[in-house]
Symmetry: D2
Amino acid sequence: MVVMTPQASEADISAVVARLEAVGVHAKVMPGELTTAIGAIGDPEGVRALALEGMAGVDQVIPISRPYKLASSELSHDSPTSFDVDGRRVGGGETFTLIAGPCTVETREQTLAIADAVKPYASMLRGGAFKPRTSPFSFQGLGLEALAILREARDRTGLPVVTELTDSAHADALAETVDVIQVGARNMQNYALLEVVGKLGKPVLLKRGLSSTLEELLMAADYILKEGNERVMICERGIRTFETATRFTIDLGGVAWLKLHTHLPVIVDPSHAAGDRRLVEPVARAAAAVGADGIIVEVAEDPDAALCDGPQQLYASGFDAFAASVLAHAEMAGRRVG
Amino acid sequence: MVVMTPQASEADISAVVARLEAVGVHAKVMPGELTTAIGAIGDPEGVRALALEGMAGVDQVIPISRPYKLASSELSHDSPTSFDVDGRRVGGGETFTLIAGPCTVETREQTLAIADAVKPYASMLRGGAFKPRTSPFSFQGLGLEALAILREARDRTGLPVVTELTDSAHADALAETVDVIQVGARNMQNYALLEVVGKLGKPVLLKRGLSSTLEELLMAADYILKEGNERVMICERGIRTFETATRFTIDLGGVAWLKLHTHLPVIVDPSHAAGDRRLVEPVARAAAAVGADGIIVEVAEDPDAALCDGPQQLYASGFDAFAASVLAHAEMAGRRVG
Amino acid sequence: MVVMTPQASEADISAVVARLEAVGVHAKVMPGELTTAIGAIGDPEGVRALALEGMAGVDQVIPISRPYKLASSELSHDSPTSFDVDGRRVGGGETFTLIAGPCTVETREQTLAIADAVKPYASMLRGGAFKPRTSPFSFQGLGLEALAILREARDRTGLPVVTELTDSAHADALAETVDVIQVGARNMQNYALLEVVGKLGKPVLLKRGLSSTLEELLMAADYILKEGNERVMICERGIRTFETATRFTIDLGGVAWLKLHTHLPVIVDPSHAAGDRRLVEPVARAAAAVGADGIIVEVAEDPDAALCDGPQQLYASGFDAFAASVLAHAEMAGRRVG
Amino acid sequence: MVVMTPQASEADISAVVARLEAVGVHAKVMPGELTTAIGAIGDPEGVRALALEGMAGVDQVIPISRPYKLASSELSHDSPTSFDVDGRRVGGGETFTLIAGPCTVETREQTLAIADAVKPYASMLRGGAFKPRTSPFSFQGLGLEALAILREARDRTGLPVVTELTDSAHADALAETVDVIQVGARNMQNYALLEVVGKLGKPVLLKRGLSSTLEELLMAADYILKEGNERVMICERGIRTFETATRFTIDLGGVAWLKLHTHLPVIVDPSHAAGDRRLVEPVARAAAAVGADGIIVEVAEDPDAALCDGPQQLYASGFDAFAASVLAHAEMAGRRVG
């Protein structure tokens, strides 16, 4: 939809129409009270490439088609996608996936103890091997050494393992070891990495960027989907706003919006947004009630000793009560544990 | 806490200490690796009034006490406030208050029909008489005429009535008719109005400003509380962020934070943030699950004909199913209907 | 512009068209590749009142006309408004208005000393009598007593006086004493106050709300303009964003946008956004360079002793150098001092 | 600074002190009116790693040292860094660097024509070879083919060339061809890429992320600086806020803040934030007036035909007038063209 300025001349209007038609886009002129609008009917990418905003007499170009394609619920005729991760069902509107584990793999003992604690309720085990840190002087994770520990935890508990990939150089090592590749919030628009992840063929957990719109999140999912990898979960983890009482603002209204507009499973991460252990359980319950397909939470054996993100981690000893409370809301919202 | 720059001299430090002590604030000097910090122990308002940031060698002044007082949960020794509104119990951690009704009172028939529809489940009836509108050319509400209609609806259903006050000129008229005075988001920092409302002695529903922090919301509540009016509910209704897929970003993590930091009842308005009817029920369920003390929703007999905010209003015919779904989550979170 | 969902039926489309035509709006159906759009040509308020988003098959309603009217540069045929304030010319694309003075009138001596200091360069004198404060426990200004001091400062220096109105109860007192009525950021959407100010017939300085869009700012100006008061200056003073290094984010790109879209004079307040004296001069220079019609700054005789907002106030002793630097950029941008 | 809750016991306080001292951090207890604070004097990273927020009785942990180190102006004793890029001086508080060129290299003819047009005023030539695009279905740039064209443009004009690196796989190819490696906004927290760029030893232009704080920007610079690469320019290009009238909100107050807090040269990109050609010149003038060390702008021979970002590009034919206007403000702010 091209809106002309009130001062636009007939010649300006004709020039826009000619330009649209030159690339095979059908143009429909709509004179209004103050301004004329021109509907452009055809490939939206082609229209955008014309950069009509630069032409004389053009006020604004308003896109009307949604910019994401493969992730759109229209593509799946409004039927939610479901898929298997090592025998665990994800998505499909019927299951609730509870992913839990340490923020970062620090030692073999720590990781195995937490894995044992979450096993009765969890659907998958999370644990960071490579940690993207804001400051270069912070602890960056154990790296490849952590992968061996995670593999042992998986063999012991039977839980599929979720780990973040931060650098395409580690892609093959991760693909061999872990079951779900996580793309972190800071890399949501690292398109080179998205394409690498798309080609690995492993299930993906794609986190929303700190200040990415929901439309951009679905376009980032498109980068992975277009490589033929259809097992993509998207994850709301809190956005950056003016409010600083909580570390990030968890966008649960956005989760409800996503359930309408994408067929992909939607997971909520209540830990990073809270920044305070006492907020994690209420937010996790709300995520289950709003209709999320699962949550991902951080658990620590002794949170006070964790090397990163300590204050927001649940205690392993309280995990059973936490899980029971969240799953009760998930069941009331029509889900069973995945 | 006053943090000095690395270049601050001994004289700079002494000057700050002298200034603090001159107004009776105790100062404690703490030399650090790079910079010196000075702890100021005493009345925080007095310290702020000194404007120490303007002194030589001062880098930043970091307030450590929380800036709200009367609304703080510390004041009530962490016990949540509860009070009566015309026989309906609000707050106290045990009840869930369901406020429902039309966005705006448009006609007697419309208002009574909606009041009848919500009566079986609702705790209170909402309805706008004076509507603050962004554009001066929009419909502004029926005004005083609406108050008579609301009074009739209350007599008929027994539901207490909630209406927004937009101008202190209407304060007395509202106080005579309605049971709860609402202060809207755009007036949250209209301090003259807050003081008027504080003096009316009626229960108040104070909405969070579109871009007010949670601390500012509690300071606004302080304006009402300090007039001796202790029946204040605060209401999260969505904040303005970069995300535009939903009209506002409902801050349910902020609701969890409020339940820790204030003793006042916390209500959630899922209608205004959503901007889309299909999002209202999931967000309302999430509000119940996160621990809110109630919700306030818009209901229309025939939403397509409403004169304002149509797309977000629930249909009266679907209100029973909506209420049952939300209240089930509220009960699971330990509440009974207020 | 009404965009239908891909699933919308012919009947859905006909219903929307019928509804538009029933209120005299011309409808133009535009079938697209995936979705159909319907152009609605007529009164935008009337279209909005229909709440078409609630109808079956409607995906979104996209307004194409701009929502502000009287403040629009189209109304003035792109010619900027100018007017007199007590013999001082404001706006018109040729003058630069330098408003300076204390944040708050604290004493007669302080106010007169600052008025004397700014007189050689300033176009007007600012000074707060009633101060809106976030916490009810902060200093709120001298009130009516300040007005007498300001009147004396005006008589002594010949500078017109700018003061904020926070409560319509003080409207007449202010109108008698001061030359320009300021509406503060927190009251930008206090519509009752805007109408009062519109009726006073005095020049107005309307500040942008902390999180108000530029379109909302111009709609707020419309509230004043529609009362027949045409002497309105609008003022950018920084918006609330995620960034906290500066107190607010001054939106100078927004000032450039305003100069294209409104005929009203645009003033910039660099003091409140900065929160740090050292940032005020560079931001003021940038405001002059970007094409603002003036600035408003806070000056203190001894900033360390000010009772509010101390750290951002310029020193009176440095005001000459400050003004010379800013005015040089204003002149380079084609302005002379107003 | 560790702030305890009002309910914290003596034992809670002692536990925090013991924990700090166990890792060699000196602890100073400061009892306050309501709460006790504990100053932690020592390595801030070490203190953060303790995750004290998780301990009983701890309310908040407030960092007082600034989190960036190598980029801090304290490190350079407040003297701004300057360095050479192929004989062009950058930074140092005396030069103004004007970087101009096409958004994307599309053809040899287009690139050479624009290079010729900007040569009389520009300090460097910009041009994209690899374009990160939000949608995977958009034009992604010519890739390696573009590098040969840029090399020819450099040989012809003598202007050093600035190009963005989007994938470490292209690092060596870029390092061979171009003079300044740009890290784009979406990759500002792609730490793997930052380290690669740090090791290349080429001058770097590091763009601020869409929603990165200024502190995070300086920490990202630390990632490059710690590899021994000291030739880093940082670039403000607009942040994401609630305002959508302009595409992004250019943070010129943030530029003034950066000039106080970092020794690195600060460049402003007015093109991407504006999204409208008419806003680029006023914002560029403001950038010069606020004290930036340079600007980077997009220029197109025929903007209407550009394949990306057309509406914000300057016309080559108007570049001389644009540059003269901006440089006049830069000179008034004490700079000469670099």
